[in-house]
Amino acid sequence: MTTPAVQFTQVSRQFGEVKAVDRVSIDIKDGEFFSMLGPSGSGKTTCLRLIAGFEQPSAGSIRIHGEEAAGLPPYQRDVNTVFQDYALFPHMNVLENVAYGLKVKGVAKAERLKRAEEALGMVALGGYGGRKPVQLSGGQRQRVALARALVNRPRVLLLDEPLGALDLKLREQMQSELKKLQRQLGITFIFVTHDQGEALSMSDRVAVFNKGRIEQVDTPRNLYMKPATPFVAEFVGTSNVLRGDLARQLTGNAQPFSIRPEHIRFASGERAACDLEISGLLHDIQYQGAATRYEIRLDNGQNLCLSQANSQWDAAAVAHQPGQRVTARWAREAMVALNEGA
């Protein structure tokens, strides 16, 4: 087995009383697109800063390509970072910004300008070298920051919510470009985001963070289809988590389970043996374009969310009204058992 690009072993980082990162262990494989996903304050950015060297762990070991990194300052690590606010040097032009890493390492001027120019070409910004960062749009600054990191040919590239400030169309475009770039260069990308859609669509594997701990590390498909904990089920996509008496009543045991809204339908026709059913009061309908979302209030007060794709032939289908009593039905195999309090 090859050495992991980055390996966390029981890493903790405490700020006073607060445990930002709590006994985290991960192996990030060489050359993979790895995302760290979680709400703000979940410890994902701290983990990234631990790899970059802006923070030092309170306990545990961090290895970068097999070498112990704890204690090393950022400038002695073979990793580069794309910052959330881009952090371009305002007093240098674009080319000088990109060439900066080579300059401080003593690469000769002609060589470093050539490589910086190449890196700018790679992010489709050839010819922009003479401009100052303030003269660029947000998306262009983003690309400069990317070129500035990549020109150093790091083995690991860290991206700290780099797309957060861009508008939706640009963000989607950058997502596919980043993914393409990563495949082309074969560098390990470690991508921090709070946007689950972004994490799912770009990554080879995703680590879901919650309260300084990792809830699950898995491929996007497994994360969505087989969430391990209630937190993952609810944070990645939308999910109905049913637990306690309700779970017992439906499945016969108290283990909580998750069911995706799109796997539930309104009961019609004959009920198959493997189907489960529950009824409640329809209390809200949201038309969302591609799908319509129905909120059903169950008898114990919990909400159950049901989503139906809007296809053309549905137009004439039964129009549900809020206040109606409805029955929801789903197949047993669509349910995923969860481990409470992992």
Binding site: G53, P74, R148
Partner: protein
């Protein structure tokens, strides 16, 4: 619905104040000119006007014999600035202003850096107060206090004696242009007083410029492989230059115009400020005094254009 009705009731009145504020809201130009005309009148008539009148008097003729000023226009006063005696004064003042600015910058930078990057809350407030407190005391009192500190048998000499540095002081006092008979009558003594008095004017702008520096820039620099020394030279220093430039404009121009410190501390000999003071006061040669006031103005203009050409304001 009811709420909005209630909120509207008092505004429905159509008093003169309401009509005035509506008018000002509709005509922002009128609003702006009402705000700006009084201060601009003050600035134009009293400030620039008197300055230009003063400049104009520089062209008047002063009769050495009768000691009277006649409004006959002449270039003689400005030409007289270049006589050896007067040029000496200008040179002495400018050298001192340059030395004071450089020294203030060197002393102020670490303090400003510490204030900007390592203090917060109460410690930051403490530093602000510590930097500005000397400015609460009268400038003349401070200058006089320094004559006592630097005098023979004063605190400064006591320290020099007890630290066994008498030999070093003697050595310095023998250097022409730096030394003098005693510390309080030396150029060095005068320089120390100037640096002391103008230091806050250097610390605060530098501190402000460093405060604006996002921490992520320093992290980005380290991330790209720069050692702390390189980060300082390539990122911190260039981005703090607007602050250093602003501070040095203060220290430079304040030293150029000062007329108290040169009289109280240091060797005999005029500074530009004390020369203006002497010309218009004791001698009554207003035209020559006016010509001398032109010197700092021209020098500052030159200084600003040099600083601008060096790109100090590019990062603003």
């Amino acid at each position: 619905m009811e709420l909005t009705m209630n909120a509207q009731a008092p505004t429905a009145g159509n008093g003169p104040l309401r009509r005035l504020s509506n008018l000002l809201y509709r005509k922002p130009t009128l609003y702006l000119s009402l705000l700006l005309v009084p201060p601009l009148l003050w600035f134009g008539a009293i400030y620039l006007g008197s300055l230009l009148t003063l400049m104009w008097q520089g062209f008047y003729t002063f009769d050495d014999f009768t000691m009277t000023v006649t409004p006959d226009l002449t270039w003689a006063n400005f030409a007289a600035l270049f006589t050896p005696a007067n040029f000496d004064i200008i040179q002495r003042t400018v050298l001192m202003a340059v030395a004071v600015s450089i020294a203030s910058g060197v002393v102020a930078f670490p303090i400003a850096y510490y204030m900007a990057r390592y203090t917060s809350g109460k410690t930051k407030a403490f530093f602000y107060i510590a930097v500005m407190m000397p400015m609460w005391a009268s400038y003349i009192v401070k200058a006089y206090a320094w004559t006592l500190l630097l005098a023979k048998g004063g605190v400064a000499m006591w320290f020099v004696h007890h630290l066994g540095l008498q030999w070093l002081l003697d050595l310095l006092m023998d250097v022409p242009g730096v030394g003098g008979n005693t510390l309080s009558t030396s150029h060095l003594g005068r320089f120390l007083v100037f640096v002391y008095i103008w230091l806050p004017f250097m610390i605060l702008p530098i501190q402000a410029s460093l405060e604006r520096l996002p921490p992520s820039l320093l992290q980005a620099s380290a991330d790209l492989g720069a050692h702390p020394r390189q980060t300082f030279a390539q990122v911190i220093l260039p981005l703090s230059i607007p602050g250093i430039a602003a501070g040095s404009i203060f220290t430079f121009s304040l030293t150029l115009g000062d007329f108290i410190v040169p009289q109280l501390v240091g060797p005999p000999g005029y500074f530009i400020g004390s020369m203006v003071y002497a010309q218009q006061g004791a001698i009554g040669n207003m035209p020559m005094a006016a010509a001398f006031t032109l010197v700092p103005i021209v020098l500052i203009a030159l200084y600003l254009s040099i600083v601008k050409r060096l790109g100090a304001f590019d990062a603003l």
